[in-house]
């Protein structure tokens, strides 16, 4: 005997059928009938926007198509990557244009990286990013990279190791450029809406081989150097400044700097590995008025053979002093550059707003000017960490 009456059971069955059948049938796309969007580039061509998409077809080919292994004698099944370009007066029009050229539905939920050309970035990138931030696909963690030269070139990099640019970038960042974190769309939005409204974004450039050789390949060089005010690119930091900026804002357990240490190697640079908290930079009230104060305490070790460093207090103090001076100079140079550009990329404004809101209310109307005039006070406390068990470098003897 049924535990429910026939009418009740029929009603429940009907409800379940509706639930199983109705939801989703409109929104479904067969996997083998779509292209997967992996990377996109945005360039300006005259008064138009050109959007190029790197797409992945879900079928595999036997080494044909756009893959770089056409000369291979043994045909291996390969995923098919290809590019489609669309143009229009707005980002929506350009995207609509390239979608109309693709014979299949394009799924963009796996979009990993967005390259924007230097020219487009100088005119302001928010109109482009607005399209991505409002999208129902979760695109907040998309990498945002400003390119020196045309952005489309990044998708056609002639390097077999990086033909799929996203994987190439990830490997490059993980293995090649330690300490670099690529900025994401989410990072951009957070800084764009901060009190200072300025920030540094990741930039990339292609390094072409000097002479045409068999083994020479085009290389992608990335660094965090694109200086932005609101959504406009205003200039680039030097690569060294970019490295020190990373030190400020990112996890630096893997950060290493080549520095000059005159007491030991007057002609050469030693590489020091850092360990400790990121430095703090803030505007504090002093007798001279608001002052930009940088405080940094860290341990370091020297990556080269440290046998020359004797367990002598005088030697170690000299080394620490040398690192202190070197660091202070580099940081001063970086901060002076941002002050010249009137760009508070360290977001000192937000911290001032939090810690001294009355002072902030006085200066907020003219903050870029105020920031550029702030006197600088740097306090570095570097401590040498001798990680070896021996007290001197004479612990081994070659036979």
């Amino acid at each position: 005997m049924l535990p429910l009456r026939i009418q009740t059971a029929s009603f429940l069955l009907l409800t379940l059928l509706c639930l199983i059948i109705l939801p989703g049938c409109w929104s479904a796309h067969e996997f083998n009938n779509e292209f997967i969007l992996l990377a996109e580039s945005i360039d300006t061509v005259g008064d138009q926007i050109s959007v190029t998409s790197q797409l992945l077809s879900t079928e595999q080919s036997n080494g044909s198509g756009n893959s770089k292994s056409q000369n291979s004698t043994q045909a291996q099944p390969q995923a098919q990557f290809f590019l489609i370009t669309g143009k229009g007066k707005s980002i929506a029009e350009a995207v609509s244009d390239y979608r109309s050229k693709a014979p299949r539905y394009i799924y963009g939920g796996h979009l990993e990286v967005l390259f924007i050309s230097e020219d487009a970035a100088k005119a302001g990138i928010m109109p482009y990013l607005d399209f991505f931030t409002r999208h129902y696909w979760s695109l907040d963690s998309v990498w945002l990279v400003i390119t020196h030269g045309p952005a489309r070139d990044m998708l056609t990099l002639n390097n077999p190791m990086m033909k799929y640019v996203t994987i190439g970038l990830e490997e490059y960042v993980q293995k090649g450029e330690r300490g670099i974190e690529i900025t994401t769309l989410s990072d951009f939005l957070l800084n764009y809406h901060s009190d200072s409204g300025t920030q540094i974004l990741t930039s990339s450039a292609i390094v072409y081989p000097k002479r045409s050789k068999m083994n020479d390949m085009e290389q992608l060089k990335i660094s965090n150097t694109a200086l932005f005010c609101r959504d406009r690119l205003i200039s680039f930091l030097s690569p060294e400044e970019g490295a020190y900026y990373n030190y400020f804002v990112q996890d630096f357990r893997n950060t290493a700097f080549p520095i000059q240490t005159p007491p030991f190697f007057p002609q050469e640079k030693l590489t020091v590995n850092l360990n400790g908290k990121s430095p703090t930079i803030e505007a504090i009230p002093t007798e001279q008025g608001l002052t930009l104060s940088v405080k940094d305490t860290f341990d370091f070790e020297v990556t080269e053979d440290t046998s020359f460093v004797k367990a002598d207090e005088k030697y170690i103090s000299a080394l620490e002093e040398s690192v202190n001076e070197n660091f202070s100079d580099q940081l001063r140079e970086l901060i002076r550059h941002t002050q010249e550009e009137k760009s508070d990329v360290f977001n000192v404004a937000d911290r001032l707003h939090t810690m001294h809101s009355e002072l902030w209310n006085e200066v907020k109307a003219n903050w870029p000017e105020e920031y550029s005039k702030l006197p600088l006070q740097i306090e570095i406390n570097a401590r040498y960490r001798h990680s070896r068990t021996m007290t001197s470098g004479q612990g081994y003897k070659e036979e």
Partner: protein, 366 residues
């Protein structure tokens, strides 16, 4: 062996937490952040504290003759001429509120999951699930909720851990950045959300051993919900800052979108869990009002009202504004005024006065 006819006080408390959080978690932080910026967490704290006297008022009204239907209790307090229309109005208020939840839930599901599915189909699906829950009743919903609450807590834990990987604590201070009036204004929608606990006036006959000491049931539900509201608002602020967070209609859900390249679409998973909670909410909001309407009109089987009522609720949901921005305006301005001005604020306070008069009369009679 059949299931017990009543739910325990703890189950009632858990159901009420789900009732508040399942929808409040989405929208309440947004309203507070828009009004009070860095002071949104303070708005939430004020909301939780201001709601306490109202919660105690509901508790007093619910524990007065707790085995009687709401209509019977209102007749005792204010007489049949006012008691019956008041009870009917209370029921229709919750039916209207459930249509609002179904509509906004449908719109949200369309945006996050099913972009090409017509809204009518999604609303019909939600209405059918709610109907099924209302049909099964609070005993089944309470047991489902026991399974559900750990998942709800897990979503908060995941957001908590994800956000704390890179928090910006400076955005929590100064809380009075936009002034005290802004902070108080930001707390009003959340007070209305917490005061959804007024449903207890309908629920009390279904709770076993619900006596004068049962104010703890309601107070614990209110304080737990208030605590979660404060927590999620802090998460949204330290992740996005006050300016960016106010641009998001659902800032807490947005947290799930910035987890990193390896966990794409985590927001969809979180929303799935929250939608299950919203279904329990609408099921409760359908079950009790319809049961009460059945009693007012002396129907033998109140469940016969469920199919026509769900059609009515769906039509209201479909006829309502379909744009998220319009719903934001409704939830931020119209609904809190409607709720606190009537069945969540003013009327329960009036009923407390009626109860005091009734108590004095009873004592004098003795």
């Amino acid at each position: 062996m059949g299931q017990p006819l009543k739910i325990s006080a703890q189950q009632a408390s858990a159901l009420l937490v789900t009732l508040i959080l399942s929808t409040g978690v989405l929208a309440a932080p947004s309203f507070a952040i828009i009004s009070s910026g860095r002071g949104a967490w303070l708005s939430m704290l004020i909301a939780a504290l201001v709601a306490v006297p109202l919660i105690l008022a509901y508790s007093k009204l619910a524990t007065f003759a707790p085995t009687l239907f709401l209509t019977e209790r209102l007749i005792l307090l204010v007489g049949p001429l006012l008691g019956r229309p008041l009870s009917l109005g209370f029921s229709l208020f919750f039916l209207f509120s459930s249509s609002a939840v179904i509509c906004i839930g449908g719109t949200l599901i369309q945006i996050i999951f099913l972009q090409e599915t017509p809204l009518e189909v999604i609303i019909a699906g939600l209405a059918l699930i709610s109907l099924y829950g209302a049909w099964l009743g609070p005993q089944t919903l309470a047991r489902l909720n026991t399974l559900y609450l750990p998942f709800l807590s897990l979503t908060f834990l995941a957001l908590f851990v994800g956000t704390l990987s890179n928090p910006h604590w400076i955005y929590l201070w100064p809380p009075l950045d936009l002034g005290l009036p802004a902070v108080i204004a930001g707390s009003i929608p959340t007070i209305a959300w917490i005061c959804e606990l007024s449903l207890i006036l309908f629920m009390s006959p279904d709770i076993s051993n619900f006596d004068t000491k049962s104010w703890r049931v309601l107070l614990s539900a209110g304080l737990i919900s208030g605590g979660f509201f404060i927590l999620i608002t802090i998460l949204a602020l330290v992740a996005f800052g006050p300016v960016l967070a106010m641009y998001y209609n659902f800032p807490v859900l947005q947290l799930g979108r910035k987890f990193g390249t390896n966990i794409r679409g985590f927001d969809a998973l979180i929303l799935t869990v929250w939608v299950v909670g919203a279904f329990q909410k609408t099921a409760l909001w359908l079950h009790y009002p319809i049961k009460e309407i059945g009693y007012i009109f002396r129907l033998q089987n109140h469940k016969a009202l469920l199919p026509p009522m769900i059609i009515l609720v769906s039509i209201i949901a479909l006829g309502a504004p379909f744009n998220i921005i319009e719903w934001q305006t409704f939830n931020k301005t119209i609904w809190p005024s409607l709720a606190l001005g009537t069945f969540e604020g003013v009327i329960p306070c009036g009923l407390i006065l009626a109860w005091l008069r009734y108590s004095q009369r009873t004592k004098a009679g003795r």
